[in-house]
Symmetry: C2
Subunit: 213 residues, 2 copies
DNA sequence: CAAATCAAACTGGACGGTCCAGTCTAGTTT
DNA sequence: AAACTAGACTGGACCGTCCAGTTTGATTTG
């Protein structure tokens, strides 16, 4: 917990913050190094002392944001395995997921990365791995637990996890992608969205789910 | 069905095709008018004779692609209302939706529009209205029919339609967004994805769905 | 303790080279 | 005559570099 930062670190952070704001708003090509320097209140020379090119700065910014997002998720989500019923666990998981992911900053990051997938494919892969894939993996592990307890019936756990994840996130995320931050689901609506997703999922995979031919 | 086109129309189409290819690959800022003219095999002056600015050309291109996509969808999807069971209808709907939507061109259009939502919000709204929203509306109407027949139990038809839509499309679309065209779900996998989505949905909304507290 | 010193970090602005949107002109095709 | 071509040109933005000078903060020295 070193709160003390050297001048170099403070300057670097100022540059990264300014760059993040401008890249998120204007995209890679739409943001200029001059403006980044101006917003960071730093000379352009200093920017290039810390990052040897616009591309390097962009990659650092996006990887930083992606990593932070992944970590917040990692920390917040409670460990799945205890003795409470699967419905409780899924409800909490879905609500947390919605409140953590459906924020302007994360939606802007997602739009930025998607828009630049052609130019920077590895950023897309990274955001996928630390975002949806991580949630699905975590769910899969929880599902293995609940299957042993007889509270869940599924052959392909990862497929089931993916279906649950997109049942919860599909609508909200895709609306936010196309309609902008104003369409981000309000916090009050998360509980209902989560509850209905859980109901649907457990009707198909819950212990008394009727399997049809 | 006028197959004959004037020279003007042919030139205009060549420009639109070239612009579509370059905008889809490089984005709005990444595509240059010089290159568009070159690919269209047309002088730059001619480009400006047809479209008074880069922005106007971009809007025409994206609106054209969005409209075509919406129309293809409109034509292909069979009208919902006849006497066959809901499971059949949903299966066909889901398979069609997957095969029509999960194409490189449409995924590139989606990436382009998402990346430019800040600059051109109305394009995002248009793609939303003619894409997901149109599917959901169509499903809602079918659901009203099936609810009358007692084959479906749901209070909020539009919400149910949205859940079904994202059950089918959520995973594939979001993978394609972040992982690129190589991650587009192969046609063979569509049938299985559709079938499992239908099973899950009907477990929750089908006639013998058990409603839990 | 206070003054002098010193290296690293930063400033501010100029500048070269490139690219690009959009215009203009003079000539060619259909 | 209308549509198009070829290419030069303008004005401006932008990346990345350069440089002479200043600030910062820690260390050394009187």
């Amino acid at each position: 917990m070193t709160v003390a930062k050297t001048r170099q670190e403070r300057t670097r952070d100022a540059i990264l913050d300014a760059a993040a704001a401008l890249f998120l708003r204007n995209g890679f090509l739409g943001a200029s190094m001059d403006e980044i320097a101006a917003v960071a209140d730093v000379s352009k020379q200093t920017v290039y002392a810390h990052f040897h090119s616009k591309e390097a700065l962009f990659l650092d910014v996006v990887r930083g944001l992606t990593g932070v997002a992944g970590d917040v998720h990692q920390e917040q989500v409670t460990e799945p395995l205890d003795d409470r019923p699967i419905a409780d666990y899924l409800q909490e998981f879905a609500e947390l997921q919605l409140t953590i992911v459906m924020t302007p900053k994360l939606m802007q990051l997602r739009r930025l990365v998607i828009g630049e997938v052609e130019r920077f494919p590895e950023l897309g892969k990274a955001l996928h791995a630390l975002g949806p894939q991580r949630s699905i993996n975590r769910l899969s592990r929880a599902f293995a637990h609940y299957r042993k307890l007889g509270q869940l019936e599924a052959d392909d756990l990862e497929a089931a996890a993916s279906f649950f994840n997109w049942l919860v996130m599909g609508g909200p995320v895709n609306d936010a992608m196309l309609l902008g931050d104003a369409a981000i689901m309000p916090a009050e609506a998360c509980r209902g969205q989560a509850a209905e997703s859980v109901r649907i999922f457990l009707a198909a995979f819950g212990p008394r789910a009727k399997h049809q031919a």
